[in-house]
Each structure stands twice: as structure tokens, then as C-alpha cells.
Symmetry: D3
Subunit: 249 residues, 6 copies
């Protein structure tokens, strides 16, 4: 099984970290390819950044589809463009926020999310609501660190994340913690050990869910919301992005 | 007051129709400018098309912001990129789906939406839910016409829309009807007259809501979800789209 | 366009203030008439007062309808009798709570309400729920002042309101603030300036929404919940209030 | 125990029927008094009628409170003025819609309501939502009869109600039926027998719930939403209705 | 009328206390029988204990049904096995959590629950949601006492419960308090008196609701979710528990 | 990895079929053991049967825990006793209804469930609500076959299931179908092929989710709702079932 993981921002060290986290949990027969698009923001912090990551993300998935990848992971906690990716993929497409919440809800009753910046809080609350997880979500907390601080050599960012994780356990009644940024993927295991509650990284969770769905022979349904895009002209610089129907469409 | 209306697809006849619908309801002191981006899909039918309209849409709004427009309308019924637009706008930004639902809920208890293709139904249901309108929405119906059929000379598409509007009134208990595509903007008035129930076009509704908000002196809050984007490098072809903080930021 | 604003309590100074707030935001072509009924409570603080404002409120709207007003505003934050007013009005009827929440939700993600007495909190929470705004409402706060304290010469009440507004911004994650009493209409502009977040007065918001709806040619739907009342006898002192069908009924 | 039942319309035959239905289920030690106000609409069909029943209803409850009634039933299926009645009552106040839904939810999983006119449907749906019964309510159906047709000698109205009850059982998956008008109180027993599913009259249900609450020693909480009204002047014809605090306040 | 109350745990002193609480509120003509099964946990604290109380509980109800009891109360605040009991009962079956919430919602707007151990909190929150009470429930609080501490001679547990009740009134905006354990049934009356807000015991509430439903002639609907179990073999030690259809089935 | 699958009914042919379905999708390194308890109903059709499967189910899981199984699947579509199983398991416990809904929601927007008997419909609707899937669930349909008909040699039951699956696709707008009974596990693959939409069997889905969670190193959180049961005496025949704390507790 081959899984393509797209980091929708353009910071190579983060793509590298994401790929490592994915490989750490992948099953023996799973091949992981982790990519980022050449174009777009170096980190995704808010709606504007999130919009501009989409063309690159979709090109990566489109290419991955033609290369026959069995499934796809979108490795940004805002789950950007999942619906669009599903329209152009035969196999399953899983976002790391939804994956982490699914995993948390299976091993705990209520959970909190620890993310980077306060501006991400309303986006994550809205995702929780879209996924039907609003009654499970105890609270979204921000460690008040920019995404790229997680790429620094120093451990300062990790210290702040851990402090917020501890607060979530003590104050929110959270039975599990979700790390709300792909850049925190390397922190989950040690935080789980230190706190004694499940601390969940969405990248790993998404890889395992894709493996599970592919293992079940499930493909993205083309019967409704995720039907193949309709072929049509795209004007100007984006002309190359117009959808060309695949053979199996 | 100057309002910029962006048609996020690249079909000029539709932009023209949208501009006319907007001017037909604008207050005397309101100047309407209707634009579409040079890049992107000729119509927006699904998530994939919706993702690729965003760069062009956001460039239009960014330019409009630097040109001092007082408010913005995004004229596609999927309300694409509203959060991103709000991050880069001082004035209010209103999408036509939300606008139409707000108007409908003020003059009727329950309403139905008549849109173009069945694949739009789940997207509109999800928007209704996001806007807290799920208890007002009786049903989303599709007239089974591609968006660009509404641009044809022949009246065939309009006939199908009218038939579905009549069915919604007869079968759904709908007290008002929303036309679920910017390309239907020219049909609202005559359908209202023929049916005797309010038939609402989102383009007009959004223009009037922007006028209302600007008239109240209200600007997009920068205190949380819609704070200015953080300045940061964008890689590759999108480098020019990196956000440059405005003076008032 | 002529808009009738009914203050459903019987305190003339408050009616005057409401009229001023309305005229301050009305469009050039809009004529504002602000009235209060001769009968009923001097302020509306709870369900009991709210019930006794209805006969007077409805007489005002009935008269306004026969005088050909284009739209109506009910200027009490409990939105009393909106459904009944809509049944007897051709044009739109907008309550100031719903108007303020609609405006807030278009310029901010989450908002708090600052009202007068704690007993109003459950009523406003219930309205937020009825309007589908429960996910947007961060918190309803009471400044612990009786309504008529807002009519005093001294600024003591305004000081308490401002303190609560500041607390809402600091503690609730509110991106906008709604002033939860028509008697606070004069405080919105200065509080907006001082705090830097949108502070919204429902009276102004309702006037602009009525202007918007009338400008769109929308009238209250008579197809269901807001159909004209059925003509029937009213016994005793209320005999004169039995509904006489209008010509257009 | 003495229970005051107020029929908020002014049709004496209906008050009589309601009193009979109440006495038919009351416990041996319960004294039932059924009243209607002298003022107001002969039937309540919509928001406008509902608003004008309130002054008379509240005077009845206020008098009943000073006469020491132990609890109160408001016998109109729109549950008008329940919050206001609770503010002026020491004992419990129960509306017949809420009572019927509570009873139905304890003996069945899902239920349908059969009411009089289609215009009542949205009001009842909104009540179901307010009471947290939206997941239990299968459907609200209207037998298309004006309320006062239920007071006619002929059985025509009863036949229509029965037909709609049978349809609800066959088509809605309803496990119990609620009769959605106080004027149907005499039909419940025979419809239960004929259909074999619980058919519930709200008048009886409310009487038994008041008996239950009084038997538990429970009184309306004065700690928040239902605190005694604040004493204050009422202007004009309603001056006598200003609340005079009781000794126990 | 004969009501069977089953305490699903096997602590006789608690069964005795429950019986006394039931008799204290029962109507003159009501005979109360309080039982506990011979088998199972001495207290129910969590899902595991709750599962093992079911065989004994169901045998008690099955016997009660064949002895002709008119209605049933399940006296554990987790409302275990209510659906199963309803399948095998002709008369109404009421759980004490649902009963207490119904009573609270009729005399107050918002309420809090004070229970024993923190592990019960998520279960009670889930019940509130199932009963449509999530908007009424202010908070579930735990007094941090094991269930059987309530059976001790010393008043230590009662003191802790009272402290938590006072906190709920002061901090949660609770207008009524529900005692979240059948073992607290003897504390409700004195706490009501001391605090001045309704403090509700579910055992008493359930008894009165069963009396009310039986008094209305209502039986558990056999039309859907609570139809009689299908006769079928049970293997092994549970063979005797296979359902034998009653004559009235 | 060793996964224990418990079929909570006592029909050996169904346990065999469930084990085969599990092995068909299990990863190479996964060992599947499928068991049923010696005690209890031969099939689970309703709340009563569901209650009596619990002691046997929990004994199986308790034994499995002491034998060191890494995770557990409860193979009945009512998801009986999941919370109780989680309290006594170190590894993850997944029910087949939740598993199937999680899988469906990742490859489709809306789905329908096809189950056996109509009496299962309200139970499954309630589970969908508990799992936050109420907006995804289009409809629960019953093929009107008793569970054990699926164990017959003849294909009659399978034909009925297929007919209902086709109706769900045609009439509900379902983009995926869930088979709502463990006894249908052998039908999923062929129905997927024939219909072209994902048809999901919960047994397979649950196995893959357990593999995923174990692969992530996630264990059931012991911090709240699923903490180990408290050690305490069990009276009578169930004395052996009292929880003995494991070493790792």
C-alpha cells in the first residue's frame, strides 16, 4: 500500500518531520511518501494562508492519484481542502484533525486540543462541530507559539506545549489530548508517557485510518458530494489545473 | 459607499448579470463594482472548482482593500473563502448564501433553496448548519442544470428553476424560496410575483447587508478569527500573494 | 421609505433616545417614526412585563400598517411579540435582539451580550438558541442595573456597562459585543471606539435590516407561520383588537 | 390540593370541556377550577391571538395565586405566557403542550402531534425544540379544522382528527400520538382504545404533572428566570396589572 | 395503584431508604413495594457495575409484571436498563434521572446535578443529552463520595453534598438542584428548606410521574422501540431469562 | 497483535462468520480470536436481549484482558456494553456500529443503514446521535428479517437486504451504505461491487480501527469515564464477576 502525505505548507523541515512520524506508525507493507507543494505559505495560520495552500495541495494529490497512490493524508490541522481532494481521489483522503478526533473518541470520552496560536481556536471549534465532535471536545487551548517555532532547535516551544497539555488534563476534565498542529507530531509519544493519558498526533492517526480504509477495500464514494469534478475550462494561470477525467471516472 | 462584488468564477456574462442585480437594489449613494478574477474555473460546481477560485478571489479583495472599498460581496452560493476574505478586509465581507438565508429568516419561518446541480446539495446543507439555519431550512432542491446553462439565451434553464420553486412551495412547506446560484439573480423578482411568496436572490441580499453594516459603522472584527494574516514568505509562484500588512493593521 | 419603531415600554425618554439612535443611522430617504404605546409597563424586565407590553405594541403596529409604513422595528431586546407583529404587517418586522445578532455574526465569529439585569440572561440565551446563534454566543453578561437607570442623568449606569464590556472582551474571547437593551443605544459608538472591537446596538441594526429588506422588495411571507390572523370575535375589553382583514389580505 | 386551569380563550363550552377532562383524571383529593378570562379571542390560532390572550390569562393566574391555588395549568397547546405565569405563581405552572410531550416521551420513543390548522405547525415545532423534544417528535400534522369546529355538535371534526391520527401511526413511525389542541381533550380515551397506541391529551397530562409536582413539595424556583416581577408602574389602561409583590416574595 | 421500585444494587439499607422516600410522597391509594435483586454489585459506580445490575433488575420487573404491578421505578441515577424494562412492562417505567430532570425543568429554567463520584459525570451528561435536557443542565458536580458513604451513620457525606449544592447555586446559575444518586433521597427536603431553591430527589419524582401516567391510563407503547421482546432461546445459565410472552402481548 | 472479537449472542454459526469476516481484512501480523459467551440470547433484537448479553460479553473481555489481548471488538450492531468493556480493558475496545459509521463518514458525506428488524431502527438512530453522526445518517432502513434468518442456507434474507440497499441508494441520497447487523458481514463485498457505492460491514471496520489504534500505541484512557471499576462485593450468583483490579491498574 502506498500512502501520499501532503504537508500543505512549504517548510521542508516540517515535511520531513511529518514523514518520520508517518513512517514510525506505518504497517510493514505501507510505503509513505511525504511531499509539500513548491508554492505557497511557509506555515498555515488562519483562513488566508489556508486558502493559498490549496492549489499546491491539489496538484500534489492530482499527481498522486495519477501515480496510483492508494490513499492520501492532508497534514495540516485545519483540514484544508479535504472535500476537494476527495473529489479527485479514488482512494480515501483523511485530514489530521478529523483523524485525531476519531482516534480520541474511541479511547476516551472527552478530549481537549492543544494548538499553536489563539487564532486557530475558532477554526478548530468549527471543525469539531462539522465532525459531530462538539460534545466530546472539552476545550481548544493555544500554547501561544507560531507554527514555525516548532521547527526551532531549542525546546522552548515543546515546553510551552507540554505546559498547556498539563493544564488541559488538570482543568478541562480531558481524558485524552490532541496535538493541534502537524508540527507537533514528534511530541505525542513522550507526552503520553509523561502524562499517563493518551496524547494523540493527527499525522499518525490519519496514516493508520487510511491504512484501515484501504485494508477494507473502501474507496471515496463518487455517488454524491465527492463525485469527480466536472471537466471545464480554467482561465488564465490556472488553466493547467482544470480537471481531466481519469479513466476510472 | 463603494462595494466590490467579486464573482469568483471567470464567466464574464455572469459577472455582468451579477453587477446588474446588485445595481438594481443598491441605494442611491452606493457605487457597485463587479469583477471576476482572470484566473480559474468558468463555473464553480463542487469543492475542487471552489478551491481553485480562491487565489483569484483573494487577489480581487486584496486589491479592493487597497483601493479603499467599504465592503465586499462574494457572489458564489458556496460562500467560498469568506473567512480568508474577512482576514484581509477592513470593511464587512458577506457571502450570498449567508445573506440570502439571513433575509429569508427575517420574512419567513421556513425556507427551501433551489440550486443548480445535485452535487451542490450537501455543500449548501453544510452551510445552513454552519450559519445556524438548519431548523429553518426545509429542503435543498436541485433543478438539475449546470451553472452555465443559466447563461444561455434560451429560457430552458429558467423554466426548470421555476418548476422546482413551485414544487418547493407545494411540497416542503417553504414560506420563502432562496435561489441557490448567483447566476439566477435575474429570476428572483418575476418568481416572487408569480408565486406570491418571497423568492430571494443572494446577490441583492448581500449588497443590502453590506450597505447596512457599513451604514452602522461596523467593520470586520480583528480581535479573533478574522485578525489580519501574519506576514510570512510564500514560496514559488504564489510569492506575490504573501500578505503585506496594511497601515491600519 | 417609512419605518415605524415601537418602543414597547411606556418611558418617553427611552422612546426619544431610540428614535435618535434610529435616525443617526437611517439612510437619507428613510423616515423614522418612534412611538410607544400609552398602556403598559414603564420598563420590560422579565416575562410578566413582556406579556403586558403586547397589546400596546400590537396596536401601534396595526395602526402603522394601516398608515402604510414600509417596515417595523420592535425596540426591546427580548424581541417580544415579533411573530404576532409579523402576522399583521405587510412589510418586514425586525426585533433588535435578532438584528444585533445577525450583524454581529457577519463581522465577527463569536460575540457576547451585555444586558441590564441577571434575570434577562436566560431569556436572551433562549433567543440566541431560537435564532441559531448558540454557537456564536460566547456569554450573556448582566451589568446589574435596572433598565431605567440608563435614563438617569448620571453616568453611573454607563460606567457599569463599559466595565462589563471590557470584561467580555478580556474573558470570553468575544470578537464583538452586543448591547442587550434598547436603552443602551447611545453607548455603542463610543464603546466601539474605546475598545477597538465592534460594539453593536440592536436599534440601529434593526433599522438597517428593515431598510435592506424593503430595498430588496421583500415582504413578510403570508404562506405559513405569519399568515394574516383569522378574523374572529374578541370578547370584553379587547373587542376592538380583533383583527380586521386588510384589503391586501 | 387546588388546581386552577385557565383556558386562555373566551369560549365557555371549551372551558367546560377542559374542566371535565381535568376532573376525569384528577386524584380524589384534588379540586379543579376551570376558568377563562372575560377578555380576548374566542379561539387562539396563531401568534396574534396568542398575544391577546395574555392579559386575561395573567389576571386569572394572579387572582388564583392570591386565592391560594397550589398549582396552575394553562390549557392552550401553544403554551402561551408560561414564563410570565411562572413569575407570578408560588406553585408549579404547567402548559399542556409541554405536559403532553413529557408524558409521551415516558411511554414511547417517538411521537407525532395532530393539531387543528396548518398555521399551528411551526409554533408546535418550535415548542418541541424549546423543550428538547425535537428528536422525539416525528411530525406535526394538521387535521385542517378551525379550533371552534371542535365545539360543534356534529362529529365531522372528530372524524378528521381520527383520520389524521391513523395516518400518523401508519406513516410517521409514531409510537404515541399527542392531540394538539385543548378542544380535543374529549377524544383521547376513545382514540387510544381504537388505535392501540397511547393517544395523549395535554389537559389531563398537565393536571397530573401539577399534582405530581405539588405532591413533591416543589414550587416554582424564584432564583432566576422565574423570579417575582419587579414592582413598577404600568401606564394607561393596564395600570391595575402592575405587579404587587406578595407577602411571600 | 401498586408501584414496584427496584433498587438495582444489592445494599438493603439503601433499598429501605428508597422505599421510605417513595412512601413519603406516594398518594393515599398508592402501594409502594421496594425491592433489590439478590444478585449483583453492592453499589453502581460506572458502566461495569451498571451492566451487572441488569439481570437482577430485569428479573424483578418481570416478576412485578406477572404480579400485576401498575408501574415501575428504576432507582439508580444512571437509569440502567430502562429500555429493556419498558419492553417487558405493560405499565409505565420511569428512571430517577429522567424523572428528576423532568420535574426540575417544570419548576426552573436551568439546573445542576450533584452526584457522588467524578466518574459519574460523563454518564449523567450523556443522559441529559439523551433526554433533550442539555440546554437546561448547567453543570454536573461530584461531591467526591463513594455511594455507600451515604449509608454510613456519620453525617460526613451529607455535609459534602450540601457544600456542593451551595456551590452549584452560587457558581452555576442553577435555579434548581437535582441530587444525582438514589442514596441521597433523604436529603432533598432539608436541602430545599435550607437553600430556598428546589432540591429534587429522583426517587420521589419518579414515583409521582408513574402515578401521573397510570392516572392518565397511559401504558408503555408496544408499537415500536418498546415492543415485547421476541421469544427465543437463551443459552446456558441465563436460559430461565428467555422472555415468555405474556397473555396481553 | 492479538484482537479478541466477541459475538455477544450465542449462535455459533454467526460467531464463525464474524471470525471469517475479521480474518479476511486483518493485517498479516494480526491474530483474530472470535468467541461467544456460553450464556445468553441466541440473537440480540431489542433492549431486553441486549441487557442479557452483557454478563457473558464482559466475562469474555475480562478473560481476554487477563490473557493479554491487545484490543477488542464487540460484534453486535447495537454496540452493547462498550463503556463497561472499556472500563476493564487496557487496549482499545471498538463497537461495530461506531466503527462502520466512522469508516462511512471518511469516504462519503451521507450514509444510510440497512438493518434487520424495524424495532432496531430507534436504537440505531440513538447510537448515531451519541456518536455525533446524526447529520451524516440519511435513514435507517429495516429489511424486515429476523437476525437468525441470515444464518439460513437459503439466500432469501440476502435478497431482501440487497433490495433495501438499492432503495437506500435510490431514495435517500446515501453515498455509502452500512450493513446494520454482524450477521450481514459476508454480504458487504459483493454489494459494494454490484452497487458501485461503498457498502460497509462493521466487523471488518472495527478490526481495522483496533489495528489502527493499537498501531498508534493508544490505550483506553483511564482518566475519566473509562477508569477501572472500583473493587467491591457482588452479591449472589454474580459474585465471581466482581472486578479484581489488574496489576497495571
Amino acid at each position: 500500500m502506498r500512502i501520499l502525505i501532503v504537508n500543505p505548507n512549504t517548510t521542508a523541515s516540517m515535511t520531513e518531520k511529518i514523514g518520520q512520524a508517518a513512517r514510525a506508525v506505518a504497517a510493514p507493507g505501507t510505503e509513505i511518501v511525504a511531499l509539500d507543494p513548491g508554492d505557497g505559505p511557509v506555515s498555515i495560520e488562519g483562513h488566508y494562508d489556508g486558502a493559498f495552500c490549496l492549489p499546491g495541495l491539489l496538484r500534489c494529490v492530482r499527481n498522486g492519484e495519477s501515480e496510483g497512490f492508494d490513499g492520501f493524508v492532508v497534514a495540516c490541522f485545519d483540514d484544508p481542502g479535504i472535500g476537494a481532494c476527495r473529489e479527485i481521489a479514488t482512494g480515501p483522503v483523511v485530514g489530521i484533525c478529523e483523524a485525531a478526533m476519531v482516534a480520541a473518541a474511541l479511547v476516551a470520552n472527552g478530549f481537549s486540543v492543544v494548538t499553536t496560536l489563539p487564532r486557530a481556536i475558532p477554526l478548530i471549534e468549527e471543525l469539531a462541530h462539522r465532525y459531530g465532535m462538539e460534545r466530546r471536545l472539552r476545550r481548544v487551548r493555544a500554547a501561544a507559539i507560531p507554527v514555525l517555532d516548532l521547527e526551532e532547535e531549542s525546546a522552548a516551544a515543546a515546553v510551552k506545549v507540554q505546559a498547556e497539555v498539563l493544564r488541559a488534563i488538570a482543568e478541562d476534565g480531558a481524558e485524552a489530548i490532541i496535538l493541534g498542529c502537524a508540527g507537533m507530531a514528534d511530541l505525542a509519544a513522550s507526552l503520553s508517557q509523561r502524562t499517563g493519558v493518551p496524547v494523540i498526533d493527527g499525522v499518525g492517526a490519519a496514516v493508520k485510518l487510511v491504512e484501515a480504509l484501504v485494508g477494507l477495500g473502501l474507496r471515496t464514494s463518487k455517488a454524491g458530494a465527492y463525485a469527480w469534478p466536472l471537466p471545464k475550462p480554467f482561465a488564465g494561470d490556472l488553466a493547467e489545473d482544470a480537471f481531466e477525467p481519469p479513466d476510472q471516472g
